[in-house]
Amino acid sequence: MDFLETNKRAGALEFLETAIQRVEEQQDDVQLSLNSLDNQDEIVDAALAAAEEDNFDEILEQIDLLEEAVTEG
């Protein structure tokens, strides 16, 4: 058995494991971003519905929520 090659492969495997873990973390971030966009869209829809009824208090409330959602998203 070539120990040098085996060691190199062990190092590469460790690197691959870290890289895969990193990609998985990014996949989680991507999912969170998509969830945040869905949430923002729901708030915008609620604000638009309130605008149709000229319900300014409700619109202002939804815009506060939107600001919160964008800040956290």
Partner: protein, 130 residues
């Protein structure tokens, strides 16, 4: 504490927070470049991009809020802020497409990495068995 700090309006302070945050993110990028760490540099640029995007969205929200207040003052004209809200939603749609592309790229990258990992593991197992 600098005495002039007390004379600053909340929006000015907020503006300074944004600049501080941009500077911090840019310093992270510069450091990564100096260390020749490409992954860290990419991550820093990505963070800077995400932060800028968020700031633009907050400006849209602020514009909408001002539009609502104006409409409330004058009574019935809500056309301007409704348009801003619709534009906000449309820009979210574009952002969603970009994120979906990124999700696909990540999936492809993960599959490639796992394929290489599998090959390496099989080679190692074959050697151990021999």
């Amino acid at each position: 504490m600098d005495i002039t700090e007390n004379n600053k309006s909340p929006s000015e302070l907020e503006h300074e927070d944004v600049l501080d945050q941009v500077q911090t993110l840019f310093e992270q990028f510069t450091l990564a470049v100096e260390e020749e760490d490409k992954l860290k540099a990419l991550e820093a640029i990505e963070n800077l991009f995400t932060f800028s995007q968020k700031q633009y969205k907050l400006i849209d929200v602020q514009t909408t809020l001002n539009g609502v207040k104006k409409a409330q003052e004058i009574g019935d004209d809500n056309e301007a802020f409704v348009q801003t809200l619709e534009e906000f939603k449309s820009s979210n749609e574009e952002e969603r497409d970009l994120i979906k592309n990124r999700a696909e790229s990540l999936l492809g990258l993960k599959e490639n990495l796992e394929a290489v990992q599998k090959t390496f593991e099989e080679d190692t197992n074959t050697e151990v068995a021999a």
